[in-house]
């Protein structure tokens, strides 16, 4: 069948699920961040699919730009926090970071 709106939505749902699986099962904190980026990308695909097929004006693409901007900010701050955690605990295994003070 010709590619339409459901195809893009199914692709974005698959990416969302895979990103969620990465967030839940990974032990390394940087891998959890990779899962978060996959989830954000899937949301962006959703926005753009509805911009093209769903009667939304081009404002959908502007929202997608802001999602990319905020994903970059969040990745930078999250990695700074992970570096700090590594200095403190000497590991980035999320199972072993379980105390609030040293």
């Amino acid at each position: 069948m010709t590619v339409g709106l459901p195809h893009f939505l199914i692709l974005s749902a698959a990416l969302f699920g895979l990103g969620l699986y990465g967030i839940v099962t990974r032990r390394n904190a940087v891998m959890v961040l990779m899962g978060i980026e996959l989830v954000l990308n899937s949301a962006n695909i959703n926005f753009l699919a509805f911009t093209k097929y769903g009667g939304v004006t081009i404002a959908g693409q502007a929202v997608a730009i802001f999602v990319i901007i905020l994903a970059a900010c969040e990745a930078a701050v999250a990695l700074a926090i992970i570096l700090n955690i590594y200095k403190q605990f000497n590991t980035v295994n999320v199972d072993e970071i379980d105390t609030l003070r040293d």
Binding site: L15, V24, V30, T51, G54, A62, A75, L79, L83
Partner: protein, 168 residues
């Protein structure tokens, strides 16, 4: 089966296979490079959705910025005692079941819903860069300025959080 469909399936396959490799492989560097392929696949999907400016922005920001940052994070937070860095996973079976159920539900909903179709196939393809530029400075001026402030705060905050403490 026209060319559009073939290209869509190629990019979708690239994206999904790269995402699967990212979340299941034990080697972190393999995961980072698979994520790079996933970002390229997503950029191709954006181009198929008439979002040309966003496709290029995706490659510039995600592959050129965020991925490099992630690889820096990987290199700085692992003891480089061996050649390959391995990481483990935890509780894969419950996670697989729950994620499969979630994806299955979403797929069923997306396939069965009668989406409102406003004749998107007849629109002619036009470049979006100029329109987006005008939107960002007229309708979306406030979010644009706030995004600039957020970027500034994120840069300063990240640099502040991650700096070396001056030894007392």
């Amino acid at each position: 089966m026209n060319l559009y469909d073939i290209v869509f399936y190629v990019f979708a396959a690239l994206t999904v296979v790269s995402a699967i490799v990212t979340v299941t492989t034990k080697n972190i560097i393999y995961a980072a490079f698979a994520l790079m392929f996933a970002f390229f696949g997503v950029a191709g999907i954006y181009a198929l959705l008439n979002a040309d400016f966003l496709a290029v922005t995706q490659i510039l920001v995600y592959v050129g910025g965020i991925l490099v940052l992630l690889v820096f994070g990987v290199m700085l937070t692992n003891k480089m005692t061996s050649v390959d860095i391995k990481t483990g996973t935890m509780q894969t079976l419950p996670a697989s079941i729950i994620v499969a159920a979630l994806i299955g539900t979403m797929w069923r909903i997306m396939y069965d819903t009668q989406w409102f179709n406003n004749g998107a196939q007849q629109q002619q393809i036009q470049a979006t860069t100029k329109t987006l530029g005008q939107l960002l400075l007229t309708d979306f001026l406030l979010p644009f300025e706030i995004a600039s402030v957020v970027l500034l705060v994120a840069i300063v905050g990240a640099a502040l959080i991650a700096r070396k403490e001056p030894s007392a």
